[in-house]
């Protein structure tokens, strides 16, 4: 079964992706890069990075930016403008269409593009290990019928059946799954290597309609790089009176340094430019060492960024839309990694833009998804869902213990063993929770059930295995099983992923907002639980025969001290602050250790009890198995917890 690949046939760079196992995967070129430069030497059939390497040497025979000529007449004003900018020969061909001439041979833009597509096809075949014959190719939203037709022909020349030509902004929206959201009006801001496009899309009946487009066909990342290079060279000239632009070797290093600084400044506030021995001055070698701050960079390229705003306004006007009408904003193109651009766009639209999918790959990814839909590979039934919120159960002290964390792909199953929190506890109540908050009461309870018939045993001994299982359609089954008796109880919950988008968003947001107070609450409960289990251990130690076994090695005052501390801790168990609980717990633990040591000493001589070790052991185990809550006689049952 051959695959349908998605191709972003770009002006500067092209990219490809394919659906694999239900999700889009970007295919790397034979050179190991995620994009292929859209550069072709049509005579020697050299494409991509390799062709780019000879661009300077063979400017007349190495064709780039061919997309600017696709399906256009030679007389087209845009072609006339490009004729002046592009170094290769552009002529009027059949029907007055623009063609290029290389070494006396004419090539249509379709043929040149076909060579790019052939390379993409070959690289995809090498990756997939099989023939590739079908593709979805993207074009700018403003492409007219003739330009679309030309793109389709390019595909056919390359031996690809073009199943569909889709708009680049539509592909970007698909990549973000916006077709499944209730987004009606979407703005796609695409700032690539050499072109800027803004499109306003409207989604209706599952179809994207392009309401308007605008942009600047000669504005992109290259202009940003050039600005930085000029600035660095100017600064260097001021200081050393040497123009680095005149020294090809120095200029080369300057270009690299500028690009590196630009990338670095997307993630840090300051970039160091360090190019020792960059050139030879009158008095010996000169070094380029400079610091470029993000603020400086932003002020340098501010003009360029502002140049994008006018087209955005124009596009809105053409679409007869106001800023407030835009439901979603999508960023495309490598330059949109720049924080300042994100900031300007966010400010303009008054909402956060979609990020996350690599902006160089997002269009190809969307094309692959479209290919998947056409090939029947992407179907709603097959689309594997994820759990939108964490699922877990309530444990001792009303803590929510997660079993399946959010964004886990379903179907999935997970089990964990829990224990009881009180002696002779014969039943546990399983309260199934959904949500991100650490405390049970703040999350949504999906259902609860009781597993009884657990044989009486000291706390921490019974083993109750709780299993969560979500099937492909999102149905959650929860099962609790007592490992000793094999007795089990279960519940099936159908609404586990049935929350509306709004509900999910609300719950996720709440979790963020309350993160700190939740953490405090949880820590307090944990402190209480630790105290509680230490009291339990201490009481056992002092009450049971272990102490008798230890004989008179344990001093009466030590024992008394433990007992006092136990009651002190008990009195504040439910009322004390986290700090008080921790201090008192520490005190009790210290006194208990004294007793333990004494007993250990006695054991050494008499082979008696070994309480110290048991103490620590029991302690940590209690923490680990953080078990269903106890309802010992004095403790009042906490809501939703295990009952005796």
């Amino acid at each position: 079964m051959s695959k349908i690949i998605g191709i972003d046939l770009g002006t500067t760079n092209s990219a490809m992706a394919v659906m694999e196992g239900g999700s889009p995967k970007v295919i790397h070129s034979a050179e190991g890069r995620n994009v292929v430069p859209s550069v072709v030497d049509p005579i020697s059939h050299v494409v991509g990075d390799v062709a780019k390497h000879q661009l300077v040497l063979k400017p007349k025979t190495t064709i780039y930016s061919i997309k600017r000529l696709m399906g256009r007449k030679y007389s087209d004003p845009s072609v006339q403008k490009d004729v002046k900018l592009l170094p290769y020969t552009i002529k009027s061909g059949r029907d007055g269409m623009a063609v290029v001439e290389v070494d006396g041979r004419t090539f249509t833009p379709q043929e040149i593009s076909a060579q790019i597509l052939q390379k993409i096809k070959a690289d995809a075949e090498a990756y997939l290990g099989g023939k590739v014959t079908q593709a979805v190719i993207t074009v700018p939203a403003y492409f007219d019928d003739s330009q679309r037709q030309a793109t389709k022909q390019a595909g056919e020349i390359a031996g690809l059946e073009v199943l569909r030509i889709i708009n680049e902004p539509t592909a970007a929206a698909l990549a973000y799954g916006l077709d499944k959201k209730n987004a009606h009006t979407i703005a796609v801001y695409d700032l690539g290597g050499g072109t800027f496009d803004i499109s306003i899309l409207e989604l209706g009946e599952g179809v994207y309609e392009v309401k308007s487009t605008s942009g600047d066909t000669h504005l992109g990342g290259d202009d940003f790089d050039q600005t930085i290079i000029e600035y660095l060279a100017d600064e260097f000239k001021k200081e050393h009176n040497v123009d680095l632009r005149k020294d090809p070797q120095a200029l080369q290093r300057l270009k690299e340094a500028a690009e590196k600084a630009k990338i670095e400044l997307s993630s840090s506030q300051e970039a160091e430019i360090n190019q020792p021995f960059i050139t030879q001055g009158k008095e010996g070698p000169l070094h380029l060492t400079m610091k470029l701050t993000r603020a400086k960079l932003e002020s340098l390229v501010d003009d360029l960024i502002q140049k994008t705003i006018k087209p955005v306004e124009a596009a809105l006007k053409d679409a007869k839309a106001k800023v407030a009408d835009i439901d979603e904003v999508v960023l495309v193109g490598g330059m949109t990694r720049m924080p300042k651009i994100v900031e300007v766009v966010t400010k303009f639209f008054g909402k956060e833009a979609h990020k996350g999918v690599n902006p160089d790959e997002v269009v190809a990814v969307g094309a692959a998804i479209q290919g998947g839909v056409l090939g029947g590979e992407v179907k709603d039934v097959l689309l594997l869902d994820v759990t939108p919120l964490t699922l877990g159960i309530e444990t001792l002290g009303s803590v929510a213990t997660p079993l399946i964390s959010r964004n886990t792909t379903v179907p999935t199953a997970k089990s964990q063993v829990f224990s009881t929190a009180a002696d002779n506890q014969t039943q546990v109540e399983i309260n199934v929770l959904q949500g991100e908050r650490p405390m049970a009461s703040d999350n949504k309870s999906l259902g609860r059930f009781i597993l009884d018939g657990i044989p009486p045993a000291p706390r921490g001994i019974p083993q109750v295995e709780v299993t969560f299982d979500i099937d492909a359609s999102g149905i959650l089954s929860v099962k609790a099983k007592d490992k000793a008796t094999g007795k089990e109880q279960s519940i099936k919950i159908t609404g586990s992923t049935g929350l509306s988008k709004e509900e999910v968003e609300k719950m996720t947001k709440e979790a963020e907002v309350h993160a700190q107070e939740d953490l405090d609450k949880k820590e307090k409960v944990e402190a209480r639980n630790t105290a509680d289990s230490l009291i339990f251990t201490a009481e056992k130690t002092t009450a049971e025969k272990t102490l008798k076994d230890a004989g008179d090695k344990v001093k009466e005052e030590d024992k008394k001290e433990v007992e006092e501390k136990v009651s002190a801790l008990k009195s504040i168990l439910d009322s004390g602050s986290k700090e008080d609980l921790e201090t008192k717990t520490k005190e009790l633990s210290d006194s208990l250790q004294k007793v333990g040591q004494a007993m250990y000493a006695s054991q050494k001589t008499e082979g008696g009890g070994q309480k110290t070790e048991e103490t620590t052991e029991g302690d940590s185990e209690e923490k680990k198995s953080d078990s269903a809550k106890a309802t010992s006689d004095k403790d009042k049952p906490v809501e939703g917890e295990v009952v005796n």
């Binding site: 050179e31 040497l57 080369q252 010996g284």
Partner: protein
Amino acid sequence: MVKKDTHILDLENQLKRALADYQNLEKRSVEQRKEWVKSANKDLLLRLLPVLDTLMLASQHVQDEGILASIKQFEDALKSEGVEKIETMGQEFNPQTMECVVTEQVDPSTGSGQEEGKVMEELQAGYRLHDKVLRPAKVKVGKKI
């Protein structure tokens, strides 16, 4: 019934697809692992090469035996990791391994015409890692007027 049949067909297709994807993924991950072993150091090497570039530049400006020895030491270390320098000087320009960043005019009517299409200067050394281009060399190439 027809509906059921197409549903079964659909499911069968999806299952086949998933299985095929999985098998291909398995095959590919074996291949990829081999590749990884070879090129695991690639990114690191690419970040270290500029240091060597600087040393080489320094040696052009400052005649010092110590610098030459440092370069030699660096190159030996690279060699032991499978990194090899791409030969450029006087060679025919090859876009697979070199990038032409500047040209120099040569006149075929005089002796310099032989330099046409040949590398006249290496501006930045290029390297191969296990027969794959790690970084193309940046060169100046002769070009007839």
